[in-house]
Amino acid sequence: MTNAKEEIMRRIQNATHGLLERAREYDTISRNYIQSGTRDQAQRIELFCDRLRDYGSAVYTCQSDEITSGIANLLNTRQLSCLLVPSGFPAQWLPREFEFISDHRLTNEQIGRADGVITACALAIASTGTIVLRHSEEAGRRALTLIPDYHLCLVFENQIVETVPEGIRAMSTFSLAPITTISGPSATSDIEMTRIKGVHGPRTLDVLLVGGLNV
């Protein structure tokens, strides 16, 4: 008996004969769709915020030298006191009056006990309101932004691209890291097509949009 791979490869070999002429070579595939945006940074930011609000996410803004107070204001508004941060998260951004637990091999149960999590992201896509998390880097391990009920994500203004193709190209530079893209909070429409927010992921996603220079 031949092994499964050999047999499947043989079947494919036999089947592809008829497909010879029709298919294009990779480089000649017509890509006449829009590959990059035309908006300036202010317009990109506006579009991104519109999309987020559309998803029901709250957007707060601050300048790069106000991150600490920005975070504090937000946590006060949300009445949260104990938050997780990825292990490399800059300590100088964290306001003193709250408890922060840095992720050093926390168990899933420990992660589940926190009020929420604060992370940064790798980039964001305006046209779809998408935040791209690169894991074990600025976004931390996947479990961190998944198990808690609250996620506060820092997005720097100059991290926002306009279109999906621009976003995917940026992601392809770190394609071996685990990536999660988030476009609004977890949702389902499985019961009578009524959209319900918050099935399994964090039920609340807040974005702190940071202006000024990237840090």
Partner: protein, 476 residues
């Protein structure tokens, strides 16, 4: 070694099954409501993109390119996946794949798995196979949970429980989750599911997923979802097993820029679905320590072998053709007797089984062309339906009146140039059954549902023909 597509081989013929389902008023109301909502949302977000047609063309060309070079892309994917620390298994058919998966679970001494929605595993009847091996699978997608607890079958490839309304869901949850005071608002039902599954996400050590895309260049796998159950299943367990149909390969990471625009807008009418998970192999302390990919054939090479219909494999399972199909919207998914329902099911199910079963499915269509129009990868479903009807007639397997109808069609085809539009053909087949511009009684296949709802007849002259005629008249 033999191909199995769920229980399609034993299923009743479409007209018989459809006839019964059409009596169910509740089902038809649920279906109409759900498909109307998705269609409305889809139309809105598709119209927003000025380059939708260009995206469709590019997607079609990428997929056709992949099929042509499938062997080398699979090799590349295997190599990259292994390089990233993954283990790759090949399965000729469903039972081989089920055996591989049960074997991995047993080797870890586990008896439970959590699953994120995968139509491919339904195609394989994986849950039955696991249960037979003493392993309990937990479906974690809300709709799949409704199906599993209700001991039901999926009726749609994106929203598998759309045939159920809230009070039916409440009844299932009340009984199976022992929640006698459960309310029937979608919020209550969703919260019950969250509670029920949370403990399983945190406890069960093996996860099973499908894949929307697998990238040859990087060995990455992509899972597209909304609820977060996918993220749970692919990142919390210690061991992850991902089932990948061999046609799911894309050459490069950048190709996602096409498909991640087309899929969410077509499937759920969203600009982007809430979550996409992308990973290549296990990743240190983040997520599963062991990652397996099962590459599944199960008849896909049968589909590839016929160049007239191989583009069926381009499908990205968005479900848009189901929502658009006047036949599906009347009968629902169960009439198709397959986990793949609607227009795509009507062409995919019989081809996977080398046309040996499900021969009535290619007739479960009025050839109106709506499926082709909405398909994000431009699969010409009407043409393939006609082709498959022809193949079935050639084998002498078709029911008598279809054979007669198809003979007439064959005659028309042999006398003229190849008909390019399905409409022309539809008109030939439907003519004897027309009455006052409505189809009254189609050949046996559609009889079951035309008695319940008049289908607008295909006009005598298509727009394109009318345009051409008009052009002649004015000499332009």
């Amino acid at each position: 070694m033999s191909v199995r597509v769920g229980h399609a081989a034993e299923a009743e013929d479409f007209p018989m099954a459809a006839k019964k389902l059409l009596q169910n008023r509740q089902l038809r109301d649920n279906l109409r409501h759900a498909t109307d909502v998705i269609r409305g949302k889809r139309a809105k977000v598709v119209n927003e993109l000025p380059d939708w047609e260009e995206l469709r063309s590019a997607a079609h060309e990428v997929k056709e390119h992949v099929l042509r070079y499938l062997g080398s892309y699979l090799e590349q994917f295997e190599q990259k996946c292994k390089q990233a620390g993954g283990q790759v298994h090949w399965a000729r058919d469903a039972s081989e794949a089920n055996g591989i998966i049960a074997g991995i679970i047993k080797r870890h001494g586990e008896s439970e798995v959590i699953k994120v929605k995968t139509m491919t595993s339904d195609e394989m009847s994986l849950n039955d196979a696991l249960q037979a091996a003493g392993i309990t699978p937990y479906e974690t997608d809300l709709a799949d949970l409704i199906i599993q607890l209700g001991e039901d079958a999926p009726s749609h490839i994106v929203v598998p429980a759309l045939h159920r309304n809230r009070s039916e869901v409440r009844q299932i949850f009340q009984e199976k989750m022992h929640l006698k005071d459960l309310g029937d608002r979608p919020e209550d039902l969703t919260a019950a599911a969250r509670e029920y599954l949370r403990e399983k996400f945190l406890r069960v050590k093996i996860g099973i997923s499908g894949a929307n895309f697998a990238i040859a260049e990087s060995g990455s796998v992509v899972v597209v979802e909304s609820e977060g159950n996918g993220r749970m299943c692919v990142s919390l367990p210690r061991v992850l097993i991902t089932i990948v149909g061999i046609e799911k390969i894309l050459p490069r990471f950048e190709d996602l820029e096409i498909f991640l625009q087309l899929l969410p807008r077509s499937a759920t009418g969203e600009r982007m679905n809430p979550y996409n998970s992308i990973w290549a192999g296990p990743s240190g302390t983040d997520g599963p320590q062991e990652f397996h990919v099962v590459l599944l054939d199960n008849g896909r090479t049968n589909v590839m072998a016929d160049p007239e219909s191989s583009e069926t494999l381009d499908c990205i399972r968005c479900g848009a053709c189901l929502n658009a199909c006047p036949v599906y919207r009347q009968t629902g998914g169960h009439a198709y007797g397959s986990v793949y329902a609607g227009p795509i099911g009507a062409i995919l199910t019989p081809q996977l089984q080398a046309l040996e079963h499900s021969q009535s499915l290619p007739y479960a269509s009025s050839l109106c062309g709506a499926c082709y129009e909405v398909c994000p990868v431009k699969i010409n479903i009407p043409d393939i339906l006609i082709h498959l009807r022809g193949e079935i007639v050639k084998r002498g397997d078709a029911p008598l009146n279809e054979r007669i109808a198809m003979k007439a069609v064959g005659f028309a085809l042999s006398n003229g140039r190849r008909l390019s539009t399905a409409q022309k053909l539809a008109r030939i087949v439907q003519r004897p059954f027309e009455h006052d511009g409505n189809l009254q009684d189609l050949p046996s296949m559609l009889a079951g549902w035309t008695t319940f709802r008049d289908l607008a007849a295909v006009p005598k002259t298509s727009f394109r023909e009318w345009w051409a005629e008009r052009g002649k008249g004015t000499g332009t």
